[in-house]
Symmetry: C2
Subunit: 210 residues, 2 copies
DNA sequence: TTAGTATACGGAGGTAGCCTCCGTTTAGCA
DNA sequence: TGCTAAACGGAGGCTACCTCCGTATACTAA
């Protein structure tokens, strides 16, 4: 939740972002920025892409002017919410990898990924636009997601809990469409994910191609 | 281009649509409807999703009121453009299948599909919304597209020009993402399409799985 | 051919959402 | 404690979607 991790930052290059270079943000500005991203996530989840900027600023308890000071346009806000989600997913991967046994960590991470995907789903259309405007956003996010999967999957492979002929990118490629595709409802996604998990286990490896 | 084909109609159920049931549209209304769809396609192609309803009605040479009489909201217009495209693609499949030799017909149809996909690409976001509101639109369109591919592919298979272990749905599944995915530029799409075509030829069949 | 009517046309204007501007407030510092 | 750069807030501009209704016109029946 906090932004203090420092390493592996996925952040926009707005001047008011804290961190390297400029003087740090004023305390109220930093607080409001966090309130705004959190509010945006809530309102987007509740109302989907129809959520208005006014509604989000109201939810955050600040004026629209403040919203636009932090996020010059709608896409910047969508982007910030997305980046926060990806960042949190990465932090989750690190946490489950240290706190849980290898296989339960995989299950826990799948769970977290599904939650992440739910937000992404409601913002798909706008994310498309954001990706088109800033191609590196997509690639950086994809990279961090792959690293997250790698972290959890590789550890489970080393422990002999996951088959050896797959890597994080493969699993992500398999899981992403299931979670993101609009024509797959949550229950179906849950079933498919369980099936993927079963296929992932080391003792499931039987079919070998080439 | 004309709407007289009768069979295989993919049309919305607005009361002013010509055909079954009600009395036929007045001549001016029918003419304006066609002008509007054609104008919408032009403007969408030129300006993408940013195209305004006002701009479209101006391009068609009618008032906005007329536009909204025919298409109560933006999504209905997007839908009409899409349906027209799918319909025309089906007609193209029929035409090339009667006018050209089996293999050239496949090539010609690929070409037409690429053009269709270009429009679809610019409207992707809005089509998503339309599909969510009317799930049967997607399935009907997909069905007609599959039939189009089947028509051309099956004929080429019978003539021994295309390998036997694929069908129209397979080819569509292969071709669609190449044409629709935003991160694939036109040149790359052209190359990939040529590769797919090469792999489709009967004498290319060598790799057999299971 | 003509008169009558159902139908369609057109564009001014209502509504709402994104964003800007600038006067007011406040955090951080000496 | 006073000063100033930074941040706040919300009225209002702009534009896009859509509605409404007076005007025009295609069709029909005599």
């Amino acid at each position: 939740m906090s932004t203090q991790t420092g390493s592996s930052e996925v952040r926009s290059e707005h001047p008011e972002v804290d961190g390297a270079g400029e003087r740090p943000m004023r305390a109220d500005a930093r607080r409001n920025r966090e309130l705004l991203v959190a509010a945006a996530r809530n309102v987007f989840t509740a109302q989907g892409a129809a959520a208005s900027m006014e509604a989000i600023s109201k939810e955050a308890g600040v004026g629209v002017g403040t919203l636009y000071r932090h996020f010059p346009n709608r896409l910047d806000l969508v982007e910030a919410v997305y980046q926060t989600d990806v960042q949190e997913l990465w932090e989750t991967a690190q946490r489950v990898a240290t706190e849980l046994e290898p296989w339960p960590a995989v299950e826990a991470f799948f769970d977290a990924f599904m939650r992440y995907a739910r937000t992404k789903k409601t913002l798909l259309d706008e994310l498309h636009q954001a990706f088109e405007k800033k191609p590196d956003l997509r690639s950086r996010a994809r990279g961090l997601l792959e690293s997250s999967f790698d972290l959890v999957i590789d550890r489970a492979k080393d422990a002999g809990a996951v088959r050896n002929d797959v890597d994080g990118a493969d699993v992500m490629q398999l899981v992403s469409p299931v979670c993101t595709n609009a024509s797959v409802d949550p229950e179906q996604a849950g079933r498919l994910l369980r099936m993927i998990l079963d296929g992932l286990r080391a003792d499931a490896a039987r079919t070998v191609i080439a």
